[in-house]
């Protein structure tokens, strides 16, 4: 199969370029005699995992819960709100302008407020991840639900289709590509939200760990934390991408 071979080739190249980056990193550090506290070697970075005081498994778990939890709530809330918009025009007319303004609020600036309201811990960080990833989902879903061809609407009306049929057979499946494009943007934002939350106030998580080891100049551990945060983000993004492939026909993806 040609397509099959092509995708194997593509993945091999992707793996190769990542390996090349690590090799380049290694050569830069060793040949350039870069001090360890400025930039550790890949090997030293890996070794940071062996430090039991850093409680990697627990911190990974906490950050993962924050990212996935905030993201999950944003998906449910975002799609739900957009559905309400499409069902109740008046509700949309009142709330949408508000939402557009709120979207302009730099969510990071809400951090200190969230701390005041919810104290610190996993909950507020979930709230932060939620706040930052919620808007793109509402906005793209609302947009997608609006995009119904007028002629298609006439076609459904000509056989006296109900509003529910229009929604279930045309509007919602037609909005799926938009929903996923919002969800992909939101997946990246949710990671940033959770980490900012941890920076501002927390006692666990990879972001919190980074602040702790910064004091001791353990750059290797900081590198490791960044890599792990990235990996968590990649897993989330991969799940969304996989769902998209499952649910959205190739041609309709945006």
């Amino acid at each position: 199969m040609d397509i099959y071979r092509n995708s194997i080739q593509r993945y091999s190249i992707a793996v190769f370029s990542h390996l090349m980056l690590i090799v380049a990193w290694h050569l830069f550090v060793t040949l350039g005699n870069v001090p360890k506290f400025v930039m550790p070697s890949p090997y030293a970075t890996l070794q940071a995992l062996l430090e039991p005081n850093y409680r990697w498994p627990e911190n990974i778990m906490v950050t993962t819960i924050e990212i996935f939890g905030g993201y999950f709530l944003a998906v449910i809330g975002g799609i739900g709100l957009a559905l309400l918009f499409s069902w109740f025009r008046i509700f949309e007319m009142i709330t949408m302008p508000l939402l557009v303004s709120l979207n302009m609020v730099p969510k990071v600036a809400l951090g200190p407020l969230i701390l005041v309201w919810f104290s610190y811990g996993i909950g507020p960080n979930i709230a932060m991840a939620f706040a930052i990833s919620f808007f793109p989902i509402v906005l793209t879903t609302a947009r997608g639900l609006q995009e119904v061809e007028p002629d298609l609407l006439d076609l459904v009306r000509s056989v006296r289709g109900s509003r529910w049929q229009l929604f279930a057979k045309i509007q919602l499946p037609g909005a799926l590509p938009y929903i996923f494009s919002g969800m992909k943007v939101a997946a990246i934002l949710a990671v940033a939200g959770a980490i900012v939350g941890e920076f501002l106030g927390s006692s666990r998580g990879l972001g919190y760990l980074m602040l702790q080891v910064q004091v001791t100049l353990d750059t290797a551990a900081m590198f490791m934390a960044v890599i792990l945060i990235t990996l968590i983000g990649m897993v989330l993004y991969g799940i969304v991408l996989g769902l998209e492939r499952l649910l959205v026909v190739r041609d309709a993806r945006i």
Partner: protein, 254 residues
Amino acid sequence: MSEPFIRLVGVQKVYRVRGAEFPAVSEATFDIEQGELVSLVGPSGCGKTTLLKIIAGLHSYDAGELRIGTQTQPFDPSRDIGMVFQQPLLLKWRRIVDNVLLPAEILGLPLAESRERARDLLRLVGLSGSEEKYPYELSGGMQQRAAIARALVHDPKLILMDEPFGALDALTREKMNLELLRIWQESGKTILFITHGITEAVFLGTRVIVLTAGPARMADNFRVNLPHPRTLDMKTHEAFGEYTRRIYNLLGMN
């Protein structure tokens, strides 16, 4: 002569924009017999789409009379209309056969039978073998064939077509004209065909109704006495030329 399948008497539709009144359709008076293929030709802005939507029951009208159906051929507005538009408007996420099924699904017809019928219709429109494909795998002309099958799936008595071949290239369009004539003869449906193509109107129609714009009004209504089945070389015949000349004159293009 028995009573006609469709009768319009002085149908009028007025649009009101900021107090001023614009006649979109005025004094539309014509009959369509059971099993006819009537071409409705005219420039943009002559109200032909509005008229079609009035007949489809999608628009109201301000004056006149519209009656569809006879004692022997009763007309149920909720399930006796099939529509084809300029764009195929297939649902990207449905396979061709499932796209054809849409009106049957909305009407709640028995699905197994309808599916069988959809496959038969796809054969009729020359798409056997494409049942399980997605729309993006089909050319524009093939997509429009599927749209025609979709308009037939619930076995409506009247097919309304709004410039269905307007977006196709010239050669595909001629081919689709021949196909439509064949489908019309095999299915025995009454078809109202809107176009701004003057030769297309004459070539397809058992009768041609001419509308003019500014102000929108009905200008002519004549039988096309060309034998069936029609062939492309008829377009070079003297009689064909007389019909097209008649329309060009009415539209002030000679």
